[in-house]
Amino acid sequence: MEVERRSFYFCFFFFLFFPGFFGVLCKSASPVVPKNPFLGIPPQDDNHYKTSSNTIKCKDGSATFTIVQLNDDFCDCPDATDEPGTSACPGGKFYCKNAGHAPLFLFSSRVNDGICDCCDGSDEYDGQVKCPNTCWEAGKVARDKLKKKIATYKEGVALRNKEVDQAKAAIAKDEAELSKLKNEENVLKGLVQQLKELKEQIEKAEERERLQKEKEEKERKEAEEKTTGEKSVIEREANEGQIEEKIDNEDKDVESAHDEIGVLDDSPADQDVVDEYADHGSSVNKVEQHEGQEDEKSVSTKNKDDSTHVHEINHDAGNEASHDQPVEEGKDGSTDAEGLSKEKLGRLVASRWTGNHEKQTEGVSDKKENDHEDSEEMAQDTHDQEYDGYASETDDDTGKYDDPDVEDDIDETYEEDVHDDATAAYKSDAEDEVEFSDTTSPGNPSWLEKIQQTFRSILRAFKFFQTPVDKSEAARVRKEYDESSAKLSKIQSRISSLTKKLKHDYGKEMEFYSFYNHCFESKQNKYVYKVCPFKEASQVEGHSTTRLGRWNEFEDSYRAMVFSNGDKCWNGPDRSMKVRLRCGLKNEVTDVDEPSRCEYVALLSTPALCIEEKLKELENKLELMNKEQPQSHDEL
């Protein structure tokens, strides 16, 4: 039974796939052999074939064949050694000399296939087609092209060398700065620590003073009570309240920065952002401003309220937008499609194949996620200015915030930089360095000393354990402490960004160092593609930005840059981008393409790829071609 069944299917298999009538037409053609018995053999193999002995070895050593079997249009060697000039062996290679142009290896399947492949026409000899020798013209074109390429390379190599030198200098500078900053950090850390202790001592002293006063007051009151009888209880309580308030006020300036964070904390997505920003210098300025300025404080409190409010709205809106859709979608397959209009239903079903609709929904969630991460990155990059912009936008532009992608706002500011420049390449965050140079530039080296002097003078002036505490001295200590710790955190953030910068792989000769903090753009149709090495690649369409990938690494021995883990693609992979690099005189992104869904490729011309060895290679090639030129000329 089983046997029968199997034979039934076996017989059927071929029959059913091809249930016609059996019959094979045999093409009876006599083999066409080349006139030149050594056709298709490259010069370096000449010795292998032109031996004195009658037998020739297959190159893989598996068999031998006689000279008569060479190019007899019958395959004797499994590795095709015996048929270099015919198409008899699958996987063989045919060599055409192409005098006047570059020699070429063809698959032997191209021999006598009716199509001219070699410019000297040597691959077609069975009379099917006539192939004219076009090597002279083709060779000329190729040589001209090569010459142009060499010219580019020459110029490019010079540019590259310059860049490499600059990079080395810049790295040295950055490293020097880093070590200097690290020293300063150490000193300042100690200073801040001491100031902190001092401050604490002052506070303790003040506390003691206060308690002392209280005690005295109490004793005085008790004495008074004793003497004058009684005083109203209400009055006493009021007094106590006043004192407490006073103490509160003293602490407030320090806490105010913290306050701000606390309020913003309500927004979970932005929490990190704010924390990060708060770590950096700018918030310190604010604290300073806030000192004693109750008005402004109340304003900012109001702002805080606003922003909290905004966040709530945001959540609601986000909820409604991205909540609604999934619900609809979630049901879509089953009962819900019934409620849809005809057109909606059509679109919905179409979207299963195309994924358009889905992409939107997912886009929303993606964007949210991105906001978060992007902001973090921004924070790390210490964009003080942008922080301000961000903050103000949060306050004013609630409508925009509602928009699922906050990121857009940031990117817009970002983009403005670009458009101002009106060039395809731009520096992504120069402010950072510029601003910092205020304090660190060589022309102003003594800031640390100044602080140290001030500190010493404080120490001198300040009399420990003195009661009552000198109020102005105490304020001075507090001020010094705040300023120093602000400076410290600024230095630390600079250290971290420098460390981060120096950590990257900039190529064998640091030739890609200048790419750091630079972006390259290419506009194609409605999209603007942005490639920011060591950072990310993105696609911008109007106000919406899609991240095509985050910096991953160089690939293919520094001939390609890989950005991976970009925004998610519906029914596809996370977006990614591979940027191939080639020698060019300008840094320029071209030919952005998406060969597979959500897998992008682009080409970046850059002097960094104009490598000297390659130039020599090209020059050699040209020399070779030129050598053959007179020869080919003779033939013509």
Binding site: L16, F18, G346, R352, S365, E599
Partner: protein
């Protein structure tokens, strides 16, 4: 606010899960299909019809079928005809001469499927003989069928069968042996009819049917037909494509089969991510079943009917409960149900499987002779984006020494999904592009679907509207459905005039940018209507001559395929064999080109099931078929892709295709070793080409 985030995420997750799979609930099961539910509920012995006035007329045996009870609206007319090579044809239709109540319309009988030369093979019956077969109380009428076979009409209970004289008059194949025959007759809707009747109440009185948001007005009421067919001494039955299931059809009812199991459905549908191992109906329908038993004995049964059909294969002992032990001879019983149309059935005596296929294709036509290039390797993808992409892919094949013959362009090549146009940005020079390919002996295929964008500036739409060439909705306005271009209308290809008009659109003047090396791909011709019931056209849509869509649904794609094929034939002045690939098919599709198994998935199960699917197609006349190599949806792992090429090299139609969301998967993208393996597989195909050309 916070807890919402995980909720949103999980919702999104769920969404993407549901979106990525077959949507069972969007399609009707038998229980939700009133005629199927009613028919399946009948028990053996329910038929009360008996033949009367049996006579010979025009060389056929004719009779009137009357019910023993007085529950018949009008008589049914039965005719039996005999054709050369052992083919028996049975027709049962209403008596249109019956005055009161007269039939409100003629039931649809599928034209253009039976080849004209078939009629010339008819054997005129000289006489009838009446005999009482041993042990039976009622007489039977017997006619000669072919050497060694008789066709027998038993009177009471009514049964038709073929007996094999060489095996002692054993039955070979029979109809209505279990008395399940039922024929719902056309009626006129009564004024008082309550349209609020909900669906599947099981009553014959309900006229409107609802499924999800769609209402089927069903103006002629229920009009289904059902009957049982038995194959004797059979071990297996096969055929009735298209289902993603085994070659030998498993029982769908009977002991050991799940209670809620579905019959094999024949209803052409565009199914998103279809399931492996399912009786669910896919893109095409061929109601031909072939039995196979010991000693290689085969017989066939073919029901020419284009309405929705449901077929149960009944497992041994399915009728045990009824207590009726009618047949002692071992058989495989099957139960056939159709929503509309007439009985126009063909019995094929075999004796071998090859003979059955021969007999069947003598009725519906032999496969057309393909061009050599079309049986070579085809490279397709949704989508090769632009001319540069095309040039690159073409060059890469040469670079990797992999032969291929045809490069395909999917829907994105058009200008806004207006077929016969080219995207002006992506394909500015289509002729030049084709000529470049043609210079290497290669061809190109572009897609042309039956939905026409409803855009007044699109001349094809304008012309079709003016000429009234579109299918109409139940209110006789041009049917407006949703497909790739958005709002679309569908050409009514059942009308020969429209087919001829359509054919002219393929001339080089009309199809601007086409060259002689360009051939055509017809997709979405089930027809696929994204916002229609079950992703297709409403059953009460109206075609040429007042035919309801329900009556010809399964043949819609066939007529479209036919019209396109005839167009290419015209284009070449009759000297160039057309190549048209179609997704939908019907008996006779083999005459017009090849078909493929639609949107499969890149997994091993779909690789496996492609074999029985293609075998079944070959068995039912469509010898030129294939499955998308690599799997349409999803990304195949390299080994799966390689294996698929190795199998695909033996598909009659050998094409790689992929969804637009998938990663590129041209043969050279998976490392040197895999490239070599794929190259070798394709080369094996090329080595066999001269041979294959003569057997496809």
């Amino acid at each position: 606010m916070k807890p919402l985030a995980p909720l949103l995420l999980s919702l999104l997750f769920l969404t993407s899960q549901t979106v990525l799979s077959f949507k069972r609930e969007e399609f009707r099961n038998c229980h939700q299909t009133p005629f199927c539910k009613r028919s399946r509920a009948r028990s053996p012995g329910a038929c009360t019809l008996t033949p009367h006035s049996i006579s010979i007329s025009n060389g056929d045996l004719t009779a009137t079928l009357l019910s023993k009870n007085d529950d018949q609206i009008r008589p049914l007319i039965l005719s039996l005809s005999v054709y050369q090579d052992g083919i028996l044809r049975l027709k049962i239709d209403e008596d249109y001469d019956h005055p009161d109540p007269a039939a409100p319309k003629r039931r649809f009988q599928v034209p253009d499927v039976i080849v004209p030369e078939f009629e010339s093979k008819k054997l005129w019956l000289p006489r009838l003989s009446t005999e009482t077969v041993g042990g039976e109380s009622s007489p039977s009428t017997v006619v000669y069928l072919s050497d060694g076979y008789d066709a027998v009409l038993r009177h009471d209970p009514f049964e038709i069968y073929i007996r094999d004289k060489k095996s002692g008059n054993q039955k070979l194949i029979s109809l209505n042996s279990h008395q399940l025959f039922d024929f719902e007759q056309l009626r006129v809707k009564q004024e008082k009819q309550d349209s609020d009747n909900t669906e599947d109440s099981g009553s014959d009185d309900n006229w409107e049917e609802r499924f999800r948001s769609h209402t089927d007005k069903r103006p002629y009421g229920p009009q289904s037909i059902s009957f049982d067919v038995s194959f004797y001494n059979a071990e297996f039955v096969s055929g009735i494509p298209e289902h993603a299931t085994s070659l030998a059809l498993k029982p769908t009812r009977g002991p050991g089969v799940e209670k809620d199991s579905e019959p094999y459905r024949l209803f052409n549908l565009d199914v998103f991510e279809y399931l492996n191992e399912s009786p669910f109906g896919l893109y095409g329908s061929i109601p031909l079943m072939i039995s196979h038993g010991k000693e290689g004995r085969s017989a066939g049964f073919f029901w020419l009917n284009a309405a929705e059909m449901q077929i149960d294969v009944l497992g041994d002992g399915w009728d045990a409960e009824s207590g009726i032990e009618l047949v002692k001879q071992k058989s495989i019983d099957t139960f056939w149900m159709s929503e509309a149309g007439i009985v126009d059935a063909f019995f094929f005596v075999g004796p071998g499987p090859k003979d059955v296929v021969k007999q069947y294709t003598s009725v519906t036509g032999r496969p057309s002779m393909p061009q050599l290039f079309s049986i070579a390797y085809h490279q397709c993808r949704w989508n090769y984006r632009d001319e540069e992409d095309v040039a690159n892919v073409d060059a890469k094949f040469d670079e990797h020494d992999i032969p291929y013959d045809v490069l395909w362009l999917d829907i994105e090549h058009t200008d806004g999904k207006r077929y016969f146009t080219w995207d002006p940005v992506l394909f500015p020079n289509p002729e030049e592009m084709q000529k470049k390919l043609a210079a290497k002996g290669r061809h190109m295929v572009t897609i042309v679907d039956p939905h026409i964008k409803r855009d007044d500036s699109f001349s094809l739409h304008k012309e079709a509207t003016e000429k009234g060439y579109y299918v109409k909705d139940a209110s006789e306005k041009d049917f407006d459905g949703w497909c790739w271009p958005g709002s679309s209308s569908y050409l009514d290809m059942v009308n020969p005039e429209i087919r001829s008009w359509w054919g002219d659109k393929f001339s080089y003047e009309n199809y601007v940018g086409s060259t002689p090396s360009l051939y055509i791909w017809n997709d979405m011709n089930e027809p696929s209507v994204f916002n229609g019931p079950e992703v297709t056209m409403p059953r009460d849509a109206l075609h040429h001559g007042g035919i309801e869509h329900r009556e010809l649904h399964n043949a819609y794609g066939y007529y479209f395929h036919m019209a396109t094929s005839i167009g290419l034939l015209k284009r070449g002045g009759g000297n160039d064999r057309p190549f048209v690939l179609s997704r939908a098919f019907f008996p006779g599709s083999q005459r017009y080109g090849s078909v493929w198994t639609g949107d499969n998935t890149a997994d091993w199960d779909h690789l496996r099931v492609s074999v029985p699917m293609i075998l079944t197609l070959g068995l039912t006349g469509i010898s030129f078929s294939g499955a998308d190599v690599g799997g349409f949806f999803g990304n195949p792992e390299p080994e799966l892709l390689v294996r698929w090429y190795q199998l695909g090299a033996f598909y009659p139609f050998f094409r790689a295709h992929a969804h637009q969301d998938t990663k590129r998967r041209e043969p050279w993208l998976f490392g040197e070793k895999n490239t070599r393996l794929i190259r070798e597989a394709i080369r094996v195909r090329y080595m066999l080409l001269p041979y294959l050309l003569h057997i496809i």
